[in-house]
Subunit: 594 residues, 2 copies
């Protein structure tokens, strides 16, 4: 059991090592027996190297090697030699050499794994998650985790160099009055009371600014007990940042430098800065989304003015009710079949479309079932507005602004993808700015905060508090990349009178505000500096840099869409005694037939 411990890593051996005697430790990737000579691909974190057992130099080691199977753990000693020209393998970095083994130790045996340890396997993801420790041996998983580690390092190095202090904030904290559902943690010491896991360190990072830390960051775990989608996890990681005494422009500029460095050092890509800045209104207007994919055009155009008086009944009535009619020019799609166009309608319906009107531009004129309801001038105006050319397909959505944006924004993405307009090698960043501060909640019959109640309004919009609060734009910003929101934040309110106006706009009485945000409001009374911050979605950034399409690929031990860990089988039942200590009991509902 004395161990031969590695002197070299498998994947780093090259012609420079020829003649050296090395010890390697690793896993058997595969073995081949060629007429009594045994070739094993030995794998460790650094890569693969071919080791050779030959009666000519391996002695007893050959017989031992003959017993090994895939995923056995080996320690071997041998000499690095150059391969014959005809056996050089140009596909692997170590392909010019091999190691002639003189000594072997089987460190551990292995059962036959349930799937091959190699990239690009096509098996059910649940099997990979159950055997995550085997899945993690696959090079693409190791590369992704190493990239993630590297990305964290770049974030930290940059922030450290720029005077940010890494501060840990509590995981056992207090349930927040608004927002997504909290995970709760019963307290044993305080029966009947609960901690909550933080949805973000928002309150604590603002308190750190009140506390004079000036520049804070944390790569922070956050928790949301939401119904999960493919790109959500119950626990996720954000790079959380807050600063004092910086303007929004200064902060965004600093964050651009950070992102440029991140992509330079992890993806090897030079992102041009400054990033494009696009207002929320423009993003919705041109792309139907507040996280537009800017790698391609296909911009939406408002045609309400043109079609308002046309013979299309639904267009006119929608506009009369305050809605709008917008159109998208699907370049060159006039040749699509009726079936293909109908499929677009089905797709549009998912986003709330009651119908999808269309025209084609063929043989010099607009054609299609609705063309007859338009005058010559109207058709000319449409052609011009939509820059229609021979072979184009024009798609129209008429509804509330929100539905129109959703429908055409998603159609734009679908068609862009279908037409191959999206360059997957591109990273296209933009800041979306000037978000509305408030939105009117029809159910609650009041304004609610779009971001949170501490988001600072734009100076020049403050007067709207008294006249039209829905017009107020916030000093809030999202960083979008290729159609994903990868970061978001805001300048915060730090002045008492602005905060009071905000609460009034939200319909909170002084008592409401006190009850919901008491200790934070008290903190704000003791000399709060102007401050603001941002949080980057770390899992998602890593996913995009790694070119993966699922957050689970970037997390060592992720949970499924039903918030289960298939490896450890969490969550699980616990002892009654444990519950008793926590002063809780189960209150299960009778099963329903579903």
């Amino acid at each position: 059991m004395t161990q031969m411990l590695k002197t070299h890593h498998c994947g780093t051996l090259s012609k420079a090592n020829v003649g050296e005697t090395v010890i390697l430790n690793g896993w058997v990737q595969r073995r081949r027996d060629l007429g009594g000579v045994l070739f094993i691909d030995l794998r460790d974190r650094s890569g693969i190297v071919q080791i050779v057992f030959n009666p000519a130099f391996s002695g007893d080691a050959l017989a031992v090697a003959d017993r090994v199977r895939n995923e056995y753990v080996l320690a071997v000693r041998g000499k690095v030699v150059e391969r014959d020209a005809e056996t050089v393998n140009p596909n692997i970095p170590t392909g010019e050499i091999e190691v002639q083994i003189t000594e072997i130790e089987i460190m551990n045996a292995a059962k036959n794994p349930p799937f091959f340890i190699e990239d690009g396997i096509e098996i059910d993801e649940s099997l990979r998650l159950k055997y995550r420790y085997l899945d993690l041996r696959r090079p693409e998983m190791q590369r992704t985790l190493m990239l993630r580690s590297k990305a964290a390092k770049v974030f930290r190095d940059f922030l450290d160099e720029n005077g940010f202090i890494d501060v840990e904030t509590p995981i056992l904290t207090k349930s927040t009055p608004e927002g997504a559902r909290d995970y709760l943690v019963p307290s044993r010491v305080h029966p009947g009371e609960f901690f909550a896991l933080p949805q973000s360190p928002q309150i604590f990072k603002q308190l750190l600014m009140v506390g004079g830390l000036e520049r804070y960051y944390q790569i922070a775990r956050c928790f949301r007990d939401e119904d999960l989608r493919a790109d959500r996890q119950p626990e996720f990681t954000q790079v959380d940042i807050e600063t004092s005494f910086l303007s929004q422009d200064q902060l965004l500029e600093l964050m651009e430098q950070l992102i440029v460095r991140l992509f330079r050092e992890t993806a090897g890509v030079e992102i041009p800065a400054p990033f494009q800045r696009i207002s929320y209104a423009d993003a919705i207007g041109k792309y139907g989304s507040d996280k537009p994919d800017l790698r391609f055009g296909l911009e939406l155009k408002d045609v309400s003015d043109i079609v308002a008086d046309s013979g299309v009944q639904v267009f006119a009535s929608v506009i009369k009710k305050g809605g709008q009619v917008k159109a998208l020019n699907a370049k060159g799609c006039a040749t699509w079949s009726r079936k293909e166009i109908d499929d677009l309608g089905v797709f549009a319906a998912r986003y709330g479309a009651k119908g999808l009107a269309w025209m084609t531009y063929k043989e010099g004129e607009l054609k299609g079932p609705i063309v007859k309801f338009f005058s010559e001038q109207e058709l000319e105006a449409l052609k011009e507005r939509l820059e229609a050319e021979e072979g184009d397909l024009l798609l129209f959505s008429a509804d509330t602004k929100k539905v129109v944006a959703d429908v055409l924004g998603n159609l734009r993405l679908k068609i862009g993808r279908q037409l191959g307009l999206i360059d997957d090698s591109q990273f296209k960043f933009a800041w979306v700015v000037d978000f509305p501060l408030l939105s009117y909640d029809e159910e609650e019959k009041r304004y609610v905060a779009e971001h949170h109640p501490f988001t600072r309004p734009k100076e020049e919009d403050l007067h709207y508090f008294d006249t039209d609060p829905g017009q107020i734009r916030a000093q809030a910003y999202d960083l979008v990349l290729n159609g994903y929101e990868v970061g978001g934040g805001s300048m915060r309110i730090y002045q008492r009178e602005v905060q009071e106006k905000m609460f009034a706009a939200l319909g909170f009485s002084k008592e409401d505000a006190q009850e919901k945000f008491g200790f934070l409001l008290e903190a704000f009374e003791y000399g709060t500096p102007p401050h603001g911050g941002i949080a980057f979605g770390f899992d998602r950034l890593v996913m995009l840099i790694a070119g993966r399409s699922n957050l689970r690929e970037t997390i060592a031990f992720p949970k499924t869409a039903s918030a289960t860990d298939l490896l450890t089988d969490a969550p699980g039942a616990v002892d009654d005694k444990q519950l008793e200590q926590l002063s809780i009991r189960l209150a299960l509902k009778p099963p329903t037939n579903k």
Copy 2:
């Protein structure tokens, strides 16, 4: 509301800036009015600078400045000038200059804070915790948090340079079958089931080794729902490390380099390496503790052989029952009063002593109530063994080995402190090694794991599994510093036959083992490399480097000894609706009269 944003930090201005116009942002530390000239000490994270408002150059700014009070947030513009020789303040780094203010903006007002924002305040800690955001403005708190951030950076830089991958492991995980109490998190999606917060990432880090990551680290949040002591927190941070293909010696050597670098870069102290290594048996034997404070001597001596046949009844009977008699020479304490010696007895009783025998060496002979029970030879032997000299006080403890160690170990610390033998500026490290693998649990009538069931036994002790499992030493190690355990770990079992022997020694059937550690045992079947690791107590290391005496001083938002956050008032009550969604209800016990 247009803001003057800082061009310089207050504490960094010096004679080099004389003549420059600067903008500063900060908090009012104090103000003095000297005959119409206003002096304000302005504070930011970097330190303090004196700013001056004088009718001669301040114009309207003077009147505004006159309204400010302590902790107001100011933005000021002014010119850096050299102070007159007689007003130079050598106590602060900026004492040679001051800033003549021409423009001021009150960024925010402040209520009068409940305590002064300065170092060394003596107020109730609960007030500091309730107003933590003000407490954090005090320079010593900011220094400690910056030190903590720096320490994290050094750990990460070193580990990164040495090929360790930073991997995040889950916070929502599964309740562990043994060990301290878990914090539980009810699952909404899986009614009646619970996540647990991890006591450490132990299982996941071992799975990462099975997964071929080879070198892992994480600065990880851990959770224990234990009854709290002064130096415990319900959530704490450890630097968690695991490696494959390293021997214990290689790992400890690497960790020594890490610690040396940590102390060099945070404390500016050069720690000599290699660190002393002391066996568990020696640590208990000489210091009565497995985390000995090695900054001073006062070693314990076993005198069982000398006193076994003396006339002291209790000595003889303790030894006959398998106990021992040990003694401590309190150098030069023979002059202590009877009261002082009695107080030592009271102190000893806290650690289980039924009595504390003693002798003094005065005027050339041993004196005291028990001397008469010894022969001349026995007294001579004691003198020699304990190296007794004129003026010494000899203290004897007779009991089980454990009680004797506790009593004399704690007396040693108390007396060492009392005699001023401890140099607080020293950092004295040692590895305590060769811990016992198992200890016999009299209640359960079986052996239990001292560390955990995956700790690797020492090769040369394996044969004891069949004869005397209590004799087996583990490949486990603790790093101790000045009487604190600051790290601990072990090599892990990776071979099936050793694991089976371990389970057998613990009295587990195959089914028991499967039920308790099923998925981990399954993972071990698929080619587990030899591996081992360590975890450093990050909060405690920071505490010791910062020279603080309480873990709460090192944590931005700590909890009290009753696991409460006085700032946010967590834990707290939650809505019935929230509980219903989680399928639990409260089960409060009726209040008892206590």
